[in-house]
């Protein structure tokens, strides 16, 4: 009877899904059905018709506009999920995606304030990635120098990041020509991420998917990725084997932070165009869950990010079509997550 982490982290988790597709599918179907059944009971207590509500919700995600919105929402989630996946391979829990996303957006916006013209956008992206890396770097520095657990420090740094952003948008960076609202001036057109074809979707999704592929390749096919999993599996053994454990941990976390920072900056340059108080709306936390849903496998994490984005977009329907309170979607999301976390893994008996 130990905590769960060892079995999942030591063996390459990518090998796990191959063991029996049929039973895995059955577990997933069973778990999701259970979650939806409990959710339906809750709907009944609120006086809503579960079947109509769920049908409306699913239908609402199938229109062209909804699909665009799902892709837009998924883009930063994919990147921020990679920011969890990569450090997790080295055994690091990056709960600080939210803060790194914010600082990434802040850094991107900062670059945008001083650089214009065609160089602006690439520099903003780089600045955002560096900003996120810096923020994650603070936490991993505390980890490797004085041994403070990174889950706690990254969590605390989320709050500090928010205060940093609020300070900037209420004070030095506030748009002098705006209506007095706390926000930076809007990005110029050339500072924004271009749109894909004739859609409303910005290029952030391309960046996100390329980054996810890069993470997958790195973890699976490079010696760096292999060493990370050795460290993640057993740091003591890795140290004895002569691996530079501290350096690997730092690198993994910095890369993760950079990915989260990138998520912040594409959210800024793709859709928001201004730093504003509610900029991230839990991107970091939802992405953390997406990564865990996928048990830290990069490609399933992409799917999980899309699924959570779809639940958010579909969740609008709970309000607009069924008149349910806004919080209903949180309950649905939590039930699905619990079902997947607890009942879909193939596990050895205890």
């Amino acid at each position: 009877m130990t905590t769960q982490l060892t079995p999942d982290r030591v063996a390459s988790p990518l090998l796990a899904p191959k063991s029996g597709f049929g039973p895995a599918l059955a577990r997933w179907v069973g778990a999701l059905a259970g979650a939806i059944a409990i959710f339906s009971i809750l709907l009944l207590t609120k006086g809503a018709d579960p079947i109509a509500t769920l049908v409306d919700m699913v239908v609402s995600t199938t229109t062209g506009a909804s699909i665009e919105q799902i892709v837009i929402k998924a883009a930063p989630l994919v990147l921020a999920a990679m920011a969890v996946v990569l450090p997790a391979r080295a055994g690091l829990a990056n709960v600080g995606g939210e803060g790194q996303v914010i600082i990434g957006a802040v850094a991107g916006a900062g670059v945008g304030l001083v650089v214009s013209g065609p160089a602006a956008l690439p520099l903003m992206l780089i600045g955002g990635a560096l900003g996120g890396a810096l923020w994650a770097g603070l936490a991993v520095a505390l980890r490797v120098t004085v041994g403070v657990n990174e889950a706690v420090t990254t969590l605390l740094l989320n709050y500090v990041a928010l205060d940093v952003m609020l300070y900037l948008i209420y004070e030095p960076w506030k748009d002098a020509n705006g209506s007095g609202q706390p926000a930076t001036p809007p990005l110029a057109i050339e500072q924004r991420l271009p749109l894909v074809g004739g859609t409303a979707v910005h290029m952030g999704i391309v960046l996100a998917l390329v980054a996810a592929a890069a993470v997958w390749l790195t973890l699976r096919h490079t010696s760096f990725g292999f060493r990370l999993s050795v460290v993640g599996g057993n740091p003591e053994a890795a140290r004895r084997a002569g691996l530079p454990v501290a350096r690997l941990l730092v690198t993994a976390m910095l890369l993760g932070g950079a990915l989260a920072g990138l998520a912040g900056v594409i959210h800024l340059a793709g859709i928001e165009f201004k730093l504003r108080p509610g900029l991230t709306t839990n991107i970091g936390y939802i992405a953390f869950l997406a990564a865990w849903l996928a048990r830290h496998n990069p490609l399933p994490a992409v799917a999980a990010a899309f699924m959570l984005a779809a639940i958010t977009v579909g969740g609008d329907s709970l309000q607009l079509d069924s008149g349910l309170p806004a919080a209903t979607v949180n309950v649905l999301m939590a039930l699905i997550l619990l079902a997947v976390l607890g009942w879909t893994a193939k596990r050895s008996t205890s």
Binding site: A65, Y167, G180, P186, I189, P194, H202, L255
Partner: protein, 378 residues
């Protein structure tokens, strides 16, 4: 780091062949002659829960009055809509459900509202509380009451009631609406009690009851004996004030029930008539060019303010009521910010004899003399 650079370079490649992101900046397509005309539905988005007993509940009640006035219209509401691009998504979903009139009821919904307006020339989008600082699109507008006017009147009641000369203001963030309110409250109190000071304490949250409790406790400890607030949820501060035997000036709603002894007066919303008139104008096809196709402000100078003074509490004497009546009459031609208005440093910001217009007032970014507190320097 090497990998990071490679990654960044790799990621910049696909950026070349695609269209510029002009979302929300240009009005694409043809402009409609009459946005909102013959709509079958009206959409309302609220930033908080529609039963918050405060700002959002008042807006929700306004939407229900529209439903009552137009039984054939479907009134679609969405609560907890964040002040970012999520708001545009929710509004678009409402439009997909047939709404051609949209109310975006929070200050921070403006950018999303303008984006939606640009994408849908046939939809009238009105935003509550902010200012459009660029050219106003043909199918958009903002509206608000002069919130600070009833707050000024309530300040008179506070100035009369205080024994210590110290008033307290619990606020969330230093946005313009809040700054106007704090200033107007102090100016109202000063008009009858020149020595009155207003101590402003921020909570950095629109609703963190524990922080509110701490703010109220500290104000009371410093001898403040009248407290008002600009928060989305208001019960905590009012209960703490009442328990300490101090006076309450309300905001958003009539809360005299939870402060039966210390309630003075306050300011509360009555959105129904204004919402209904906006809907009527748009349904009739006359939105473009109407007063709502602008930064529409209504106050004691122009007519029916949707922000009204709350009923008086038992301890407000006849003299105070008379002073408030007099001031209200004066506001029909003047303003709480009629000059001279000096800031905390003693600099005259509005010269004597000047009555600033609504837009000027909504850009005030300083505290007036008599307010004790610090604003960020932007």
């Amino acid at each position: 780091m090497r990998k990071l650079a490679a990654l960044a370079a790799l990621l910049t490649v696909p950026l070349i062949a695609c269209s510029a992101n002009t979302t929300g900046t240009a009005t694409t397509g043809t402009t409609s002659a009459s946005p909102g005309k013959d709509s079958t539905a009206v959409g309302f988005i609220f930033v908080g829960p529609k039963d918050d007993f405060g700002y959002n509940q008042a807006a929700y009640q306004g939407s229900q009055e529209v439903a009552k006035a137009y039984p054939n219209l479907e009134v679609i509401t969405a609560e907890n809509v964040p002040e970012d691009d999520n708001a545009a998504r929710v509004m678009n979903s409402m439009i997909a459900k047939g709404a051609k009139i949209i109310f975006a009821t929070s200050y921070g919904h403006l950018d999303a509202a303008l984006k939606v307006a640009a994408e849908h020339p046939d939809v009238a989008v009105v935003q509550q509380g902010n200012l459009i600082t660029t050219a106003v699109p043909k199918n958009a507008g903002t509206f608000f009451g002069t919130v600070y006017e009833p707050v000024y009147l309530a300040g008179i009641a506070a100035g009369k009631a205080t024994k210590s000369g110290k008033l307290g203001y619990v606020y969330a963030f230093p946005i313009t609406q809040t700054i106007d309110n704090i200033n107007a409250f102090e100016l109202g109190a000063q008009s009858v009690n020149p020595a009155a000071q207003t101590f402003a304490v921020s909570t950095s949250s629109w609703c963190d009851p524990a922080k509110q409790a701490e703010a109220a406790a500290n104000l009371l400890k410093q001898g403040v004996d009248v407290i008002t607030q600009h928060q989305d949820c208001t019960a905590t501060v009012i209960k703490a004030t009442e328990a300490a035997g101090a006076f309450t000036v309300g905001y958003h709603a009539d809360a005299s029930a939870i402060a039966p002894k210390g309630w003075l007066t306050g300011s509360q919303w009555n959105w129904g008539p204004l919402y209904t008139d906006i809907v009527k104008t748009a349904l009739g096809g006359g939105f473009t060019g109407s007063k709502y196709n602008d930064n529409f402000r209504v106050g004691y100078r122009t007519g029916e303010n949707p922000f009204v003074q709350s009923p008086y509490g038992p301890l407000v004497d006849a003299e105070t009521k008379a002073a408030i009546e007099k001031a209200r009459d004066l506001l029909k031609t003047s303003s709480p910010f009629a000059g001279p208005v000096t800031d905390q440093e003693g600099k005259v910001r509005i010269p004597a004899g000047t009555v600033p217009d609504y837009t000027t007032i909504e850009k005030i970014d300083y505290f007036v003399a008599g307010v004790v507190g610090t604003l960020p320097k932007s």
